[in-house]
């Protein structure tokens, strides 16, 4: 069994807003194994991006606040490292790419400058060696005319090409973990297919483990080995990818799977989860999905369901339907 690379232990990241404390990440625990692609899936506002940003310690600390828990990366708790130690890991052992390729590259610096930066910083390469490595990276991510691209500016490239450059930058120091925060959401579907194909290819070649954050279940099915489903700041279900599509347990996961129209599967009427995501401020001790759930019981409104294993040993769900007290209702 592959070694654990990253382990989230009861992570708590809260935001102090004028409307009150928003528990964006509320007691989140799961592990990412080496060489594995873990998908964190959930709708907007469920805390999936904040979880990734907390791992990279990029959460802006005046509004945001680390309220508890640990993030172990190869045994070391990243949250306790000093600023200097953390900046040696960022971009070197853990790298990240973002959702908006159009604005993720600095418009006034050339592509070459932005790729060689981490090379010079982490691998201490001189200008010539860094340029050679950068050209290799640009070709690795499938962009023709690498030399010309090296000297061009971001505004001269298309969205798809910029996302490839972002991946080249992330892979520059051969990181152990690549975090991708909705990398293809802003791209057209044919370009998205190219980027996902590239990521699968990289995982095979470099055996990098990937933490992919998305809201599209199709992308999850295509890329993931292990899936974590989040809702309103909490992990509500986690399981291997085949398991979660074959036998989803949590009503929300089932709802998501039924709500998405699928090609060549004519449905008379889409199943729609009623209501909307609850107000994140002071959600209280209950199952946050209770007001939208068709199986809602009294206990769901009064007590937070634990995330526990039911049946298959690595398929966990946080729902009273599968708990004894729940069945006793």
């Amino acid at each position: 069994m592959a070694k654990d690379l990253v382990e989230f232990k009861n992570l708590e990241t809260h935001f102090h807003t004028s409307a009150g404390i928003v528990k964006a990440v509320d007691d989140v625990s799961f592990t990412i194994r080496e060489g594995e692609t873990l998908c964190v899936v959930g709708e907007s506002g469920c805390g999936k991006s904040v979880t990734a940003m907390s791992l990279m310690r990029l959460v802006e600390m005046p509004p945001g606040r680390h309220a508890g828990g640990e993030i172990l990366f190869e045994g070391k708790d990243l949250l306790k490292l000093s600023k200097r130690e953390m900046s040696r890991i960022r971009g070197n052992e853990i790298a990240m790419i973002f959702q908006e390729p159009m604005s993720s590259l600095n418009p006034v610096l050339t592509i070459g400058e932005q790729i060689t930066e981490p090379l010079a910083l982490h691998l201490l390469l001189d200008r010539k060696a860094a340029k050679k490595r950068a050209i290799e990276l640009i070709t690795l991510v499938g962009i023709p005319r690498a030399e010309e691209i090296f000297h061009s500016y971001p505004h001269e490239l298309s969205g798809g090409m910029r996302q490839r450059i972002m991946i080249a930058i992330a892979l520059s120091c051969d990181p152990k973990l690549l975090i991708a925060d909705e990398p293809t959401t802003a791209l057209d579907v044919t370009i998205q297919a190219q980027i996902l194909d590239l990521m699968r290819d990289i995982k095979r070649k470099l055996n990098t483990s990937i933490m992919l954050i998305t809201h599209d279940l199709g992308v999850v099915a295509e890329m993931a080995d292990f899936v974590v489903v989040m809702y309103a700041g909490k992990v509500i279900e986690e399981a291997p990818v085949l398991e979660i599509f074959k036998d989803p347990q949590h009503p929300y996961t089932k709802g998501l799977l039924k709500a998405k129209p699928i090609i060549n599967e004519k449905k008379e009427r889409l199943y729609s989860i009623p209501g909307q995501v609850p107000n994140p401020v002071d959600l209280g001790d209950n199952c946050h999905f209770h007001d939208r759930c068709e199986f809602c019981m009294d206990i769901c409104r009064t007590k937070l369901p634990p995330l526990r294993v039911h049946g298959d040993h690595n398929h966990k769900t946080a729902c009273w339907l599968y708990e004894e007290e729940g069945k006793a209702q």
């Binding site: 809201h215 199709g218 085949l242 599509f245 699928i262 889409l270």
Partner: protein, 321 residues
């Protein structure tokens, strides 16, 4: 025979590119480059394609929100682009639009109730006394609560704002609605609510839709006829079952195979197109898709393929289809 509501003949829409100090026209973005199709009454016609293919421009030109460069747009047989400003204004209630971005389609400084009802008043279709009643009625149909009449847009979620946008269009009881990517900006669970709402309204009020989207699965669910566009021209058009069971144009096939399916066990042979979408400012010669087409040949570079009816109601524009 069903009555044709909208007839579009060889529609062209070019956006001039100005350059140099004198702002002379130095080129044209051919957003829509000769597109013809018709929409029958009560039907929902899907228009699919990636960014830059001109689908939104067609939607706006159909309602004459921007002027056409060439070609004809007939609404119930009359050419709306030749209407006088006054005649066009009086025709406005009959054809409405629902926008994509819930956050910029509502005026932040106007209460929701007034935003929905203001057009009725401005057209004098209802007296100020019972405009509130009409608005509340339409809001209930669209799943909004009465107390929300006096609220401001910033107090609503994305999904609810789309409902307000739909209510605003619906209250004019139009015959034709252009839905310009109404669900693309929403989460999956909210998307399903709006899709169901749209199909219920169509059945209830016998509406005709032009449904514009980049998401083929949503279009397959909602529409009974679909047109696929690439870089300003229509590459394929057919009934939904016909198109999705055996697509003819290589671009349609690639588009369908590129969509990720939420079923990990499904093994299928993927067509991954190489290269990027060319810019509509200088499209490739001949068939515009030849730069990315897996089966491109020399003829594709020279000649523009003829848009012809290969089978009953199934049009395609490809030399090898």
């Amino acid at each position: 025979m069903t009555e044709t509501l909208i007839q579009v003949d060889n529609l062209k829409k070019y956006f001039p590119i100005t350059g140099g100090i004198l702002q002379r026209v130095v080129g044209n973005v051919k957003a829509v480059d000769g597109v013809s199709f018709h929409i029958n009454k009560g039907e929902s016609f899907g228009l699919v394609g990636e960014s830059g293919c001109g689908k939104s421009t067609i939607g706006r030109t159909l309602l004459r929100l921007n002027d056409k460069t060439e070609g004809k747009v007939l609404f119930k047989g009359e050419d709306i682009h030749s209407y006088s400003k006054e005649k066009l204004r009086s025709m406005r209630p009959k054809m409405q639009i629902v926008f994509q971005d819930p956050y910029s389609s509502l005026n932040p400084r106007i209460k929701v109730g007034e935003a929905i009802g203001e057009a009725l008043l401005d057209h004098g279709l209802v007296s100020p006394r019972d405009v509130k009643q009409r608005v509340l009625e339409t809001m209930r149909i669209c799943g909004l609560a009465d107390y929300q009449y006096d609220r401001y847009p910033h107090e609503f979620s994305g999904g609810q704002r789309q409902r307000i946008g739909i209510a605003r269009a619906l209250i004019m009881n139009p015959e034709f609605i252009v839905a310009d990517e109404p669900v693309s900006a929403l989460d999956v669970s909210i998307q399903a609510q709006i899709i169901n709402l749209l199909s219920d309204l169509q059945r209830e009020k016998n509406l005709t839709y032009l449904f514009i989207s980049h998401d083929l699965s949503v279009v397959e669910h909602l529409c009974n006829r679909v047109g696929v566009m690439y870089l300003g021209s229509m590459v394929e058009l057919a009934d939904t079952e016909e198109l999705f069971s055996h697509p003819l144009h290589p671009y349609t096939k690639a588009l369908m195979s590129a969509i990720p399916i939420p079923d990990p066990t499904l093994k299928r042979e993927r067509i991954i197109l190489k290269g990027d979408i060319p810019s509509p400012a200088n499209p490739p010669s001949g068939c515009k898709f030849h730069t990315r087409c897996p089966i491109a040949a020399d003829i594709c570079k020279q000649a523009n393929p003829e848009y012809r009816e290969v089978r009953k109601g199934h049009f395609v524009a490809c030399h090898f289809a």
